[in-house]
Amino acid sequence: MDFSVFFQPAFSGGGIYLDWVLSGIKWTLLVSILGWVIAFSVGSLLGILRTTPVPALRWIATIYVEVFRNVPLLVQMFIWYFVLPEIVPTGMGDWLKTRMPVPEFWNAVLCLGFYTASRVAEQVRSGIQSIPRGQTDAGLAIGLTLPQVYRHVLLPMAYRIVIPPLTSEFLTIFKNSSVALTIGVLELTAQARQISEYTFRTFEAFTVATVVYLVITLAVALVMRVLEKKVRVPGYIGSARK
């Protein structure tokens, strides 16, 4: 193994191969974190809708979840990138393809965000449904409206309950972000492939990529664990262990 390859001048763009790695890390973080912002907000909304007493809202959320979580991520990536611009009006399609800044990047963010939202929705729903029915009834009995029951009774507990599975989703989005390379986002995996191709140092390139992914995901897991501890409600879930 010879890691000095990362300090050799890169084939193109000035700089050294390490710069390619850093640029890859930047895009991986951007795609994943922006994707997660979408996934968390849209997913939360859908998860709540799936538990409301209004059938139409429940149906919309259910259809969304089933469509987005049952179509392979790779296929969704291609649909966003290759199909969507062709079925919208020409002017908009042209904007999507050429005039918008870094189209492949925003495509990847939206695709990853909306895909992961379907999974987040299921976690949020299960969190809400794990709270005994009596709490909703009690909230309504003391005169809270249904939105107030969600805001002050159900959601504060539900989110605490689902922090562990949400952590897994959050980690998964970093790993899934590598699928963005298929539509031309030069994120970490794509850069590792490119470096291996230019230098024939496959082993070194992917070793570095592996270590970087591990560092990112372990850091995220750590932050989530601290968060879990901080928001713990004494006497309720997860506090039996001291």
């Binding site: 084939f11 290759f82 393809k97 050429t98 031309g184 191709e197 024939f200």
Partner: protein
């Protein structure tokens, strides 16, 4: 017991005498093929007419035909008429690691023999010569490389054309926005849908992509050559016995004139799946190489310096 000892001694004697002799005859790839009973051939999916899939998803093409001649020679050499041929799909990006990793024994596609690749693999004598040009939509108004300033260009990852184009971009400071893609069909799709204005590729592949497009008249291939790209069949390096067998087979095709028949079949006749005739007569450069076979490679960055 005595008899058993004698048998052991006899077996040992056979092993001692036969062992080194067999090892001397077969090494490297030939030994691997003999041991496994399979020769693994790497093919491409959209390198028309060199190596691509017909409507039954079977690999066909000019390069595939030449490789099958090599397979025949292997069968004869190893006296294994029932040798199995396994086709393994490869891409521009995976072809070298798959070959060096041992998952294929021959790569029959459209691979440029470059000095840089020769550090990793060996090449059979050149069987086609081409070079980098651009395919653009006629309506784009692009007439030459310098018109690409600030435009979006798509390239297939892992190709020599990628390097030639990037080297040109760096040298002329064109500020091209590059988008990578994984195969030629997808790169062409990017030009077709207007996502990119141009796709740099070996000109012969551009002509065949254009011929299979929905409206061939909408596209044009523009030059001049940004690089020279001699194609060769790839095999693992440092395997002189196998290299000799491959070289001898290709050279025999050249000397016997059989190559002209194969060439005519793929470049000057209707080819599957759409029955297009590329109408691409043999270039003088290739005629010269048929007369004097060579496996010399080119520099990686085309006409620019790396």
């Amino acid at each position: 017991m005595k008899r058993f000892a004698l048998l052991c001694a006899a077996a040992l004697a056979v092993a001692i005498t036969a062992g080194p002799a067999a090892a001397q005859e077969l090494t490297g790839t030939l030994k691997k093929i003999k041991d496994t009973g399979v020769v693994k051939v790497g093919n491409r999916d959209a390198s028309i007419p060199f190596s691509y899939l017909d409507d039954q998803q079977k690999p066909i093409g000019y390069g595939v035909d030449i490789c099958l001649k090599i397979v025949d020679a292997i069968k004869a050499e190893l006296k294994m008429p029932n040798l199995k041929v396994d086709f393994v799909p490869v891409t521009s990006q995976t072809r070298i690691p798959i070959l060096t990793g041992g998952n294929i024994d021959l790569e029959c596609g459209s691979t440029t023999n470059s000095v840089e690749r020769q550090k990793q693999v060996a090449f059979a004598p050149t069987y086609f010569v081409t070079g980098t040009k651009l395919i653009v939509k006629k309506s784009s108004g692009i007439k030459g490389y310098d018109d690409l300033k600030g435009k979006t260009v798509v390239y297939t990852q892992g190709t020599t054309n990628e390097r030639a184009m990037k080297a040109y971009n760096d040298e002329k400071k064109l500020g091209i926005n590059f988008i990578p893609s994984k195969d030629h069909a997808e790169s062409f799709l990017a030009v077709e849908t207007g996502r990119a204005v141009a796709f740099p590729m070996d000109d012969i592949l551009l002509y065949s992509l254009r011929a299979s497009a929905k409206n061939p008249a909408d596209y044009e291939v523009i030059g001049p050559f940004l690089s020279d790209d001699p194609y060769g069949i790839m095999l693992r390096k440092d395997d002189p016995a196998f290299k000799k067998l491959v070289d001898d087979t290709v050279i025999k095709l050249y000397k016997s004139g059989e190559i002209n028949k194969i060439y005519h079949k793929w470049f000057e006749s209707k080819i599957p799946p759409k029955g297009i005739n590329l109408g691409f007569p043999m270039s003088d450069a290739l005629k010269e190489l048929v007369k004097n076979p060579s496996d010399k490679g080119v520099e990686a960055c085309g006409k620019m310096k790396c």
